[in-house]
């Protein structure tokens, strides 16, 4: 599954030639962002088609997120070569005015009340995974646990087999990681995903929509936008989005949280002793380790933070960097699990606020609670090599731990 990565020149100047695939950025991007905020708050790079921009300050990220006139959502991943024609996945790739109806359609399925009903399933599947680890002393908190939770829950919501997880993770790895540098893998992966969903749609019978179950595929088949059923490209684009957006994002957030607790025993002990602190702690983990960097395409030349943005340029919209801006968050570089005031932007800002934010919070909370209940004294295994994902979504892909003392 891992292809050989082409050799790239190491970055010498983060301001004028940044590369978010550089091993130093992947391993620990925070000092790089701190440096940029002080020297060159909007970094540029010619390594990506039509040039790329990276805003490191909260105020600039916020301004770009709110500005659909100059910054389009039609490309949400910065790639070495742009994929043409653009591959719509409404509503994440939609701009106004198309965005509002496409989003409104999905909102009820992800509203807090709807998501709360999934808690028993989420808790049960976490316990199944913990049972599988059993009383082993050595485990991998990412591989044995975090990576399975969102896959199984979204499969449950879509009404597809939970056992198809390997397939889903492969597609996501191709589209979001390998495909940033090697565009040849993207279309085949997208086509495979479309074929998968067309088969699922067929299973539900296209004619009599009343017979559909209450899964998300059935819900979308029965949905109407301005009185019309969704077109096939809209339907399949949205399904691909729900699959891609809900998996490695939350897996990364759960993984980063467990990694933090594995390496900060004082925070782990405090959470075990005071479970009421959990909601505040989860928000702080979301701030400090926000997994998702979005993207925009410049559609009209403009200036943000005193820096020019040229038409067609690709913009990394780094909510993770915004969340580490000391101008917005006191002690931004410290993880304070009792940080009461925390206006973080982990789920984005403005009209594209993460549709799945309520689901992600539920999964993180349940996953951490269940893990700590089973392994209250876990810690990073001595000499462990923790590996981090590359590209758009940041999180640990391997966290070797000792489950007990």
């Amino acid at each position: 599954m891992n292809r050989e990565k082409p050799a790239r020149a190491p970055v010498q100047d983060w301001g004028k030639d940044f590369d978010h695939r550089d091993p130093r950025w992947i391993e620990n991007p925070f000092p790089i962002w701190d440096e940029l905020r002080g020297t060159c708050p909007v970094a540029t790079s010619a390594r990506f088609e039509d040039g790329a921009y990276f805003a490191s300050r909260y105020a600039d990220v916020r301004e770009i997120a709110y500005d659909a006139e100059h910054f389009s959502s039609r490309r949400v991943i910065v790639r070495e070569k742009k994929v043409n024609p653009v591959q719509p996945a409404p509503p994440i790739t939609s701009d106004p005015p198309e965005h509002t109806p496409a989003r409104k359609l999905l909102l009820p399925a992800f509203a807090p009340q709807a998501i709360a009903r999934l808690e028993p399933r989420a808790r049960a599947l976490c316990r199944e995974l913990l049972d599988a680890i059993g009383d082993r002393k050595e485990a991998d908190a990412a591989v044995d646990y975090a990576q399975h939770i969102p896959v199984r829950l979204i499969a449950h919501m879509l009404g597809v087999p939970e056992t198809d997880g390997d397939l889903f993770r492969r597609w996501i790895h191709l589209v979001l990681e390998v495909g940033i540098s090697d565009e040849s893998v993207i279309m085949p992966a997208l086509t495979e995903m479309s074929t998968y969903f067309f088969t699922e749609i067929k299973k539900r019978g296209a004619v009599d929509k009343a017979k559909h179950g209450d899964d998300l595929i059935s819900f979308l088949l029965g949905a109407r936008m301005e009185g019309q059923p969704l077109s096939d490209p809209h339907l399949v684009g949205t399904l691909r989005l729900l699959l891609v957006a809900g998996i490695d994002t939350t897996w990364s957030a759960i993984g980063s949280t467990l990694w933090h607790l594995a390496t900060h025993p004082e925070d782990r002990k405090r959470l075990v002793a005071d479970p009421l602190l959990m909601p505040t702690a989860i928000e702080e983990f979301l701030r400090a380790y926000a997994p998702v960097t979005m993207a925009r395409e410049v559609v009209k030349e403009t200036t943000v933070g005193g820096c020019p943005f040229k038409e067609k340029g690709q913009v990394l919209l780094s909510f993770p960097a915004a969340n580490r801006d000391p101008a917005m968050f006191p002690d931004a570089d410290k993880v304070l699990i009792d940080r009461a005031e925390n206006r973080h932007a982990a789920f984005g800002l403005g009209r594209h606020r993460c549709l799945g934010s309520n689901l992600a919070r539920l999964e993180m909370t349940v996953a951490v609670e269940e893990w700590l209940r089973r392994f209250p004294e876990f810690r990073l295994a001595p000499g462990a090599k923790v590996t981090w994902s590359e590209g758009t979504v940041r999180g640990p892909r391997s966290i070797p731990v000792f489950t007990r003392v």
Binding site: K104, L107, P108, F110, A111, P112, Q113, P279, E283, A340, E341, N342, R343, H344, A345, F347, L349, G350, R351, R353, S357, N358, R361
Partner: protein
């Protein structure tokens, strides 16, 4: 005596759900997940700090507090 009230500006709220999570006594979400104040938004005694906290955690600056 002045009454403390909370209010959610509908055109700013994007459904982050922070206010509802922090102060479920004061806020609730509609079927789309967007928030509004419960009842007339009056903050009962003892919940002033929660109201402030909800305001200070809204990523969209949609939660407002008034004293009338």
């Amino acid at each position: 005596m002045k009454v403390m009230r909370v209010r959610v500006e509908a055109d700013r709220c994007q459904g982050h759900n922070r206010c509802c999570a922090i102060a479920p006594e004061l806020f609730e979400a509609d079927e789309l997940g967007n928030a509004h104040a419960k009842g007339d938004g009056a903050v009962p005694p003892g919940l002033e700090a929660k109201a402030q906290l909800a305001m200070r955690n809204c990523p969209e600056h949609a939660v407002r507090i008034t004293h009338e």
